[in-house]
Symmetry: C2
């Protein structure tokens, strides 16, 4: 398998964690999204019609979107399972993952921040306030969900799931942007537990071949 990835992309980071948890070998293919490589015609035509990272290529099957990729990996390589089979447990994992993947990450990703800056001409202070607003609001939702339904050392139970694959990159991103995440106690307890795990460490941005300062 090949993973098209950018070291600092938090959606790529989610998939790298999943691959590492499952112990699956893959070729890392860097796509520099800062330079717009994800929009190059060859990449869009051959790898990912949605012009984004990550993309997984498995033989002649290529697939975009981090949550779809992790679900696919879970179907093809079910040990360890990242999506529970019990309907209610699975729903909790998907609910928290969706809060991060739909409510937090998209409003703060690079293309949105660039539009704010380049098209709407917002100041750096306004851009930072935008970023922090959605992080604070979104992590408060995550924290309430974990306070209501979380259990064990991980988001939901004694083993990592898709929810942890989403939570860790989001908190790492928030910290990189200077947000104070300490108020979200249960989320931070899971985060601290997760980043000590070898699979989560192997997936860190600074350990990827395309990492730059």
């Amino acid at each position: 398998m090949q993973l098209y990835s950018f070291f600092n992309s938090s959606t790529s980071y989610r998939v790298r964690i999943a691959l590492a948890l499952k112990g699956l070998p893959f070729d890392y293919v860097p796509v520099n999204i800062r330079a717009g490589e994800q929009r190059e015609a060859g990449y869009v035509a051959r790898v990912n019609p949605s012009a984004a990272v990550p993309a997984l290529v498995d033989g002649d099957f290529s697939l975009g979107q981090s949550l779809a990729i992790i679900d696919y990996l879970d179907a093809r390589h079910p040990v360890p399972r990242l999506l529970p089979q019990d309907a209610a447990a699975r729903a909790r994992v998907l609910e928290l993952s969706s809060v991060i993947a739909c409510d937090i990450h998209p409003v703060n990703n690079m293309r949105v921040l660039r539009y704010l800056q380049d098209v709407l001409g917002v100041t750096p202070a306004q851009k930072d306030a935008w970023y922090r607003h959605w992080i604070d609001d979104g992590l408060a939702m995550v924290e309430r969900l974990l306070q209501s339904h979380g259990h064990g050392d991980w988001c939901f139970g004694d083993a990592p799931t898709l929810a942890d694959c989403c939570l860790v990159p989001q908190i790492a991103n928030a910290q990189r942007m200077g947000c104070d995440t300490s108020a979200h106690e249960r989320a931070m307890r899971v985060y601290t537990h997760a980043i000590a795990h070898p699979a989560f460490q192997a997936a860190e941005p600074r350990r990827q071949p395309d990492h730059t300062a």
Copy 2:
């Protein structure tokens, strides 16, 4: 079951389609998100810690996030199935659904448009241009995915899936906001086919009990 819904919320609309396709009866509980009812303490504490619609209550189990809810309904009431069981077919459905749920909808939802207007003070013309930019960009991705992988009368095959539950509300929303969606030929062919289906009609905003002009 109870569905907490707002007539004009496109994430609520997705779940209403799924419930109608499965023929499941439910009580409609309106939550006026224009008036901020989704943030009221009782709703957040008892129904949905993530302070949003939709939320599904099934006995003593309550769940937020439209994609998690539809996955849960598929597990509990698998006929008709909205998520294929074959790994590759399922991946295609989740990929397209994620483009809509993660890349298009979140940047144009009400809370983001309000922030642009109330905090950043953008003009109505700038707000419209923002909306159209993400719709044009996002529907172009959807169209490329459908051109590459779509088949049959629906997004993927001869029966509706989660992808159609996501596509129809997104296109209806874009049209309501005055976007020209005609260039996205395959997406519009699926849309036109879908809106003639009784389940999609039953889920339309104008047929909900809380509909207002």
